[in-house]
Each structure stands twice: as structure tokens, then as C-alpha cells.
């Protein structure tokens, strides 16, 4: 009996006016009706939308729900399998074949060893901001360059290639270009990465991509892995840094608390991850008939998991729509859960801890340079939510 469920027919939907940090009202409303809603995919296929924390988490931990791109049942044509190396859209054992060689390179310890270097990169960005003077766009001056430089250094992308490379990634992550432009940007990135992989094979340097050439992974697979690491490695963190700063500026008492107490930094990062959930939606497809919360998800049906709604679930987080940097936000789903949980999460944490701390320390009078309503937001069609630009200003001495 699946008839009595709340129904949602369209995604993505707009965020409520004046609430750029909150999930679209349609999603928050769906959660009020229950953790699971009947849903129609944009291509017309029937599915389910899951907005409750516990249910999203249990689906993510359940191997009966597949991540495979070619099983996704959302449009009326057969999707191709994920390209070699793009393991986010694969199940076991393929997923582990790609993830396993990477895990040791992104451990807590190894990422913490990068702290000093990330502090230096951050200080360079802040120095440049001071030199140029206010106002400035925090996205281009701070939020983008820090994670871009870091992931390029980890992977071994030469410095002189970074600008063009970032433009291509922006085009296919921003959600705002035509299909033709998107394909062109994707193709250009693939071609660049193919050259990079070949270069590392010929002349290994001291970086993760060169280390990976010393394995049984093919050039094509290495290209796919590099694409995932680069795209996931800076677009997510860049949007957390810019949207997170926006959220702090809109919650001045929280910002003041963070500025006054460095010990609050680690917890503040977890709370910003929960509160903003910039990677907002993922899909899973049932491999068999699965009972879930009184619903039978039939084999082959694709469910949408709303991370940002789950992270605002009042049954899991008290007063969930408040940004509260002092709360215990551990257990949030911002990095997902299950076998696909973010490989680079420990890097993202170090980057955010260092960058937010340095920013609030350096600019005690930092504020928006435009009214909050004029800050341009990414469309909901973008995979990763965020601001297009964040004009800020500050008092100079």
C-alpha cells in the first residue's frame, strides 16, 4: 500500500526568498509529512524522495541500493555506465578497485601534515586581499584559490595550467551553461587530464597522480580518478568557504563567538557542513524489492536522497534551522555515509579549519558590500550549492 504518501513532483525547486541557506520549501514541507515521499523524476519516471535523516542514512548503508549510473532509472533512455575511474557512480567490487589505492593518500594524519602549507596558501590569499583593498569578491580572492591550489599541488597539476583548468571545471560544475558548453568543458578537461596522466607516466613527480601511475590502473582509469578528485576537491570546499562566510556574516553573534574562541573552530566547521550541506542530493537505485518505512521500493526504482533536508531533520538535530556553532553536529551527512562517504573529507576539514580561522582573525570588520538579497546564488540545478560571488568589504586602518 503505497498510495497514501505525500507527493513531490518536481525537483529542483527554489529556495524560500531571503533564506539562501535553507533547503527549498518543497523539501522541508515533504519532511513534515514523513521521511519518504512519492516522487516523479524530471524525466517522468516514478521514484521516491527521502528527506528523513535516519532513512537517508540507512539507504546509504544498504548494499541493496546501487550507485551505478547505468541502473539509474530517471529518464526514458538507458544511461551509460560511469566512465572508467569515476567510482562515485559504481558499486563493489569496481568501486573498491579505484578507491582502495587512494585511501592511504588522504588519511587524517597525512592531511594534517598539510596544515602548514594550507596556512601559507591561505595567508597568501589574505595578503593579496589586503594589498588590493576593499571591496573584493571573496569567491575569487579566497574561496576558490585555496582549495584549487591545494588539490592541484596534491595531484601534481602544474601551476601554469591552473587558470584554464579551473575555468573548465567551473563550466561543468556551475549548472548554468548550455548542454553544448557543458560537453565542451567536459571534453576539454578530459583531454587535459589525459595529457597530464601521460606526462606523469613519462616523468613522475612528487604527487599523488605520479604515485598512482605505479599501479595497475590504466591511463583511462587514472584520467577518470583525476577528474573526480579535482572536481570534488575544490568545487565543494570552495562553495563551503564562500557560502559559509556568507552564513557567518548573516549570523553575527555566531561569528563573534567563533572569532573570540579558536577552540570553537573544529566544531564550527562541522556545524557549517551540516547547516549548509552544499552537496545536496544523491540518487540510489533499488536492486531488489525493498521495504522502507511502510513503502515497497520496487526493484529498479531510483530514490532521491536529500542530504540538506536530512541534515535539518528535527528528529535528529534540535532546532535544526539554527546555525549553532557550539552544537554537537557530528553524525551529519554532509560527506554522505556508507562506502561512498567522501574520500577527501579530512582534507576538506583541514582546509576549512585553517581558512575560516585565518579569515575571521585577519578581518575583524569583514561585512557584505551589498545587501544580502543581492548576493547571487547558484541555481538549484547545480550539483553543488553556493554563491556565484560574495562582495565583501572591511575597514582599513
Amino acid at each position: 500500500m503505497n498510495d497514501s504518501f505525500h507527493t513531490v513532483t518536481t525537483l529542483p525547486t527554489e529556495r524560500p526568498a531571503g533564506c539562501p541557506f535553507d533547503p527549498p520549501a518543497v523539501l522541508t514541507d515533504a519532511r513534515k509529512h514523513g521521511p519518504i515521499s512519492r516522487y516523479t523524476h524530471p524525466g517522468g519516471k516514478p521514484g521516491w524522495l527521502i528527506t528523513g535523516y535516519d532513512m537517508v542514512r540507512s539507504v546509504l548503508a544498504d548494499p541493496r541500493f546501487s550507485s551505478r549510473k547505468d541502473l539509474m532509472n530517471v529518464v526514458d533512455f538507458q544511461l551509460p555506465p560511469a566512465p572508467p575511474g569515476e567510482f562515485l557512480l559504481m558499486d563493489e567490487p569496481e568501486h573498491s578497485r579505484y578507491r582502495k589505492p587512494l585511501v592511504g593518500k588522504f588519511t587524517v594524519r597525512r592531511m594534517r601534515m598539510l596544515t602548514e602549507r594550507i596556512e601559507q596558501i591561505t595567508a597568501d590569499c589574505l595578503d593579496a586581499m589586503e594589498e588590493t583593498g576593499p571591496p573584493t569578491d571573496l569567491v575569487t580572492a579566497f574561496a576558490k584559490p585555496i582549495p584549487t591550489i591545494v588539490i592541484c599541488e596534491i595531484l601534481g597539476v602544474p601551476y601554469e595550467d591552473r587558470a584554464s583548468f579551473q575555468e573548465q571545471i567551473d563550466a561543468f560544475m556551475g549548472g548554468e551553461v548550455s548542454d553544448e558548453e557543458l560537453i565542451a568543458a567536459y571534453t576539454a578537461t578530459q583531454e587535459y587530464l589525459a595529457q597530464l596522466v601521460a606526462a606523469k607516466r613519462a616523468h613522475p613527480t612528487d604527487d599523488v597522480l605520479s604515485e598512482l601511475t605505479d599501479s595497475d590502473l590504466t591511463d583511462e582509469e587514472l584520467r577518470g580518478i583525476s577528474l573526480i578528485l579535482l572536481a570534488a576537491g575544490f568545487d565543494t570546499t570552495a562553495n563551503m568557504l564562500s557560502l559559509g562566510t556568507f552564513a557567518l556574516l548573516q549570523n553575527p553573534e555566531q561569528l563573534a563567538a567563533l572569532r573570540a574562541d579558536p577552540a570553537l573552530t573544529d566544531g564550527a566547521v562541522e556545524e557549517l557542513l551540516r547547516y549548509l550541506s552544499v552537496a545536496k542530493t544523491f540518487h540510489r537505485t533499488a536492486l531488489e524489492d525493498i521495504e522502507l518505512g511502510g513503502v515497497t521500493i520496487t526493484a529498479g526504482t531510483t530514490v532521491v536522497l536529500s542530504y540538506n533536508t536530512a541534515n535539518r531533520d528535527p528528529e535528529r538535530f534540535t532546532d535544526p534551522h539554527a546555525l549553532d556553532l557550539g552544537r554537537q553536529a557530528g553524525g551529519h551527512l554532509a560527506f554522505s555515509h556508507g562506502i561512498h562517504q567522501c574520500l577527501g573529507q579530512q582534507l576538506a576539514r583541514v582546509e576549512m579549519r585553517v581558512a575560516f580561522r585565518a579569515l575571521v582573525d585577519r578581518f575583524p570588520t569583514l561585512r557584505l558590500a551589498v545587501p544580502a538579497a543581492e548576493v547571487g546564488l547558484r541555481p538549484e540545478t547545480a550539483d553543488i550549492f553556493g554563491v556565484k560571488s560574495l562582495p565583501v568589504t572591511w575597514d582599513t586602518k
Binding site: V103, G104, F106, R109, R110, G330, I339, Q341, Q345, R349
Partner: protein
């Protein structure tokens, strides 16, 4: 002696590092593979809350908690 409080399954581990971050006195990641290392299967009381939390947040269910029915240590 009953079974120790904790055990780990390195086959299930995906190396997310949640345990090493949450309970660094109890868990680590080996430097090569990045998979879980159990430093202390019977952690002192002061580290047990963190160890339990680490088991709870482990994304792949690789940490097994053997809680005695009535809490004797």
C-alpha cells in the same frame, strides 16, 4: 575475561578516517593502506565515550562494539 570492548573489520573499512578523528587514542589509520588500526581493544573509561561515538559514525560498519549487558569492566 569476557570479549574485548572493540574489534574492527579491515575488509569492510573504507578509510574515511572518522574513527581516527573521533577517537584518536583508540583508532588510527595505517600509513600505507589508510585502513583502520585498533590501538586499544579495551580502552580506559576516559576514552570509551569517544570510542562508542566512533563506532556509531563509522560509515562502513567496520567497528564492532561488544557492550557487556551490565557494565562491568
Amino acid at each position: 575475561m569476557s570479549a574485548p570492548l572493540l574489534s574492527v573489520d579491515r575488509e569492510r573499512c573504507i578509510g574515511a578516517g572518522m574513527c581516527a578523528m573521533t577517537a584518536p587514542d583508540v583508532f588510527d589509520q595505517d600509513p600505507d593502506e589508510g585502513l583502520v588500526l585498533l590501538l586499544d581493544a579495551e580502552p580506559p573509561v576516559a576514552h570509551r565515550a569517544a570510542a562508542r561515538m566512533a563506532a556509531g559514525v563509522c560509515p562502513s560498519g567496520a567497528i564492532i562494539l561488544h557492550e557487556p549487558e551490565s557494565g562491568g569492566a
